[in-house]
Structures are given as structure tokens and as C-alpha cells.
Symmetry: C2
Subunit: 219 residues, 2 copies
DNA sequence: ATTACTAAAAGACGAGTAA
DNA sequence: TTTACTCGTCTTTTAGTAA
């Protein structure tokens, strides 16, 4: 694995938000090394896909941290938080409502899923999922759901095709009982959270795209 | 600087809470290295005062992360959090009320400090400080106060002795207006926060030692 | 001024081994 | 079994240099 510390320094210099202009020599000071090593670090980080750069003809370079670079940093952050955070059996996640791919409605209408949710969560989900794009802090905390086994939802097959499994967690969406669902093979990036509830959450909470809500997920 | 990653692993194995029993060979697996390197890592961490160990005659060793080891981890944690946390001009700190060294009462009665607080905060502090022992999460966040310049409080001299300076921050203690004070040379470890207010906080909030309160510090 | 190569110095690694 | 030494090897670093 590449030098995560160098990546951290770049993030702290602002490369997490957008491209920053930086020369190898000035970066060398930040990581207290020679310019050669600084240059090599940047090469290595680029090679591993953690940053992307464009060397400027005038000198210096534009550096941005890529998605997988952010993931690596998020993971580190999460591990350090785990050291100091008290062990809780719940996570508070905040995010912005977005319109999903529309497939949630289809899946939630299938008997194979509906009966499982009924049995395991005690409610029949409203046909449709509410999708949230989590803020950065919540995206870090969301990793906790990956580590926990949660309530398993099994896949099944119809004559035409197979439907994948996953897991879910009881959750309170702005106080309303529901669940967060994590398909084994999600179509969404890790900063998107799918939630379901017995009722239409969009209507009940009068939500529009871009509206911010918080979800308390119980592990 | 020593291998912070090895220290992180030890923390995740529980060495932050108390001594853990661990052999070099089992630690080797956790850091994916040879037993020799694992042994060397532990030696290095001990040499730098980040962990303390006692090698057991039966084999294996007891390992605890020291105070300065915790500080190093807290610092890492804080830096990673800074990457993802939105830039806020306030920090929420939580902690437990403790009885301090009693010197707060003396210092807060001195004109040299009282007039400065009056001028800079707009209130004359009640003679006495309330001391909080912060929880781990808050201790990490408290570092933000170290980095900010805050409102400076200058030192002064009487004929007998000199009194040190420091800085303070406006704060709301359970909603009551006050301030957090950070002497340049504090007698307290970094998980203790001293707060002042125009009134006697202990009385107003009916606080006893061990009572938990939260302080919103404005930067 | 840059970036990034090559080559020599420094450092880290794991095998073998002692206690 | 352990911990931790030495030693040969491999890796990483910096100095020097080119583009």
C-alpha cells in the first residue's frame, strides 16, 4: 500500500475538495523529505490511482485526490475514530435526498422481498426507496454498517432471473420507523444510503430533492 | 517518528483501554510482517515512550499504550477528522465535572485577570473555575482550540511574582454564557477543560462531581 | 525554476540463531 | 514456545544530473 501519510497531507492541503497547485519541492517540506522523494511519492500515489495530476508547463502541478483516494482516507479516519468513539449500537447519518434510479420501486414490489421485510422488520415496505447522499462525516460513519452483519435479506430466483441478497438495519428516519438497506451488490457509491419505511417517506416528511434529513440506524 | 500504524493496530486491539496480552508472532500477523519486524516495532514504540510493556516469563507480553501514545493517536484522529468535517466555528465538548486544584478561585479573584475578562468577554468571572474531564471524543476535538489563537489573555506581574498568560474562547455551558480558558502553561492534562462564567456554574446547574455537561465553544 | 532519472548511502527486512 | 540479537539482502532515500 502506498504512503497514506503523503495522501493525508495532500488532503489537508485541500486536494480533497478540488485540484490544488503544488510543486514537488514545496510538498517535500510538508512531508519533511527531499524533493526526489516527494516527486516519487506523487508518482506512486498517481500510479495507484489515489490521486490524479497534471504537470503544468510553467512548473508545479495540479493535484486532485481521486474517489479511491478518498475511500482510503475515509477508511483511515474511520479506524482512528473507532479507537476513541465509545462502542455504540447506533449511528446517526445525515444526508441530502436525491432521486434514485427508480428501481427501488420495482424491487420493493416483489413478493420475494416484501415477505422477508414483513417477517424480519415487522412491516411491509412502501414500494419505493428513499435515497440519501450522505455528507462526508456520515460517509465515514456508514462504514460501520459494512462491518456489521445486520439483518440478512436473502436473494431468490424467479423463472426469468435471479434477485440478489443483502442486509438491512432498523432505522428511524426523522423519527419514523423504517430500515436502511444494503444490497450485496449495490448500484450506488458508498456515500448513498437507501432507506425504506411502511409509508411513503417523501410524502410524510414533505421531502424534496436536496432536503436534508437524518437517519438513526440501529445496529 | 515511529510507526504510527503499528500503534494504531495496538489501539484497535484494545491496548488503549488497558494492558493486552500479545506475542510478537501474533502481532506480526496483524501488521503483516515477520516476527522479527513485529518485535522491532514493539521495541521502537517502547523506546519512544508510546507504549509500555512487560515481557511475561511464560511468553508473550503485556502491552499498554501510554499517555503520549494516546496523544499521538488522538492527533492522527484529529487530522483525519479535519479532512472530512465541515469547517465549523464551534466545537461541542462533553465532559464530567471534577474538583480542580482550587487555584482557579485564586486566579479569578486577581484584578489583572478580572479586568481583562471584563474587557474582552464582557463579564466579570465568578471567582472560581469549573473543571471538566472530557470524554475521549471531545479530547480529540479539543485540539481545535490549540490551533486557534482565540482571545488572548496577557500575563502580568505583581511585586511578588508573575502571572502567566493564555487564551480564552466564548462558550455556552449548558446554554449559560461563559468562556473556556486555556492557560499557556496549564497544570492540567489535555483532557481537562476549564470554564468560567459570570455566575457560579456549580450552583446554577446544580452540578456535582461526576455530573456530565456539554460546552459549546465558539472559535 | 520545474520533474524525474541514475547511482551511491542509509535504512529496513526476514532468515538464522541464542537465550 | 517466547524475545531479540546478528547478518546478508533487499528496499528506500538522497545526491547529482539531465531534460
Amino acid at each position: 500500500m502506498a504512503d497514506i501519510n503523503a495522501l493525508k497531507k495532500l488532503a489537508l492541503l485541500g486536494a480533497i475538495k478540488g485540484p490544488i497547485q503544488l510543486s514537488s519541492s514545496s510538498f517535500a517540506k510538508h512531508i519533511s523529505s527531499s524533493t526526489q522523494t516527494a516527486s516519487r511519492r506523487l508518482q506512486a500515489l498517481e500510479r495507484e490511482g489515489l490521486i490524479s495530476r497534471s504537470i503544468l508547463p510553467a512548473g508545479g502541478q495540479h493535484i486532485t485526490i481521486t474517489k479511491s483516494g478518498k475511500d482510503a482516507l475515509r477508511n483511515e479516519c474511520y479506524e482512528y475514530q473507532k479507537i476513541f468513539e465509545p462502542i455504540k449500537n447506533e449511528v446517526m447519518l445525515r444526508g441530502e435526498v436525491i432521486t434514485g434510479l427508480g428501481e427501488g420501486q420495482y424491487y420493493m414490489s416483489l413478493e420475494g422481498y416484501r415477505t422477508q421485510f414483513k417477517d424480519k422488520l415487522g412491516f411491509i415496505p412502501y414500494p419505493g426507496t428513499l435515497n440519501l447522499i450522505l455528507d462526508d462525516k456520515s460517509t465515514v460513519l456508514r462504514k460501520k454498517l459494512d462491518e456489521d452483519e445486520g439483518i440478512p435479506i436473502h436473494g431468490f430466483s424467479s423463472q426469468q432471473r435471479t434477485f440478489g441478497g443483502g442486509k438491512c438495519f432498523r432505522a428511524a428516519i426523522e423519527g419514523i420507523e423504517g430500515a436502511a438497506i444494503l444490497p450485496d451488490r449495490s448500484h450506488y457509491p458508498n456515500n448513498v444510503l437507501e432507506v425504506i419505511a411502511p409509508k411513503n417517506l417523501r410524502k410524510m416528511l414533505r421531502l424534496k430533492d436536496g432536503g436534508e434529513i437524518s437517519v438513526r440506524v440501529v445496529l
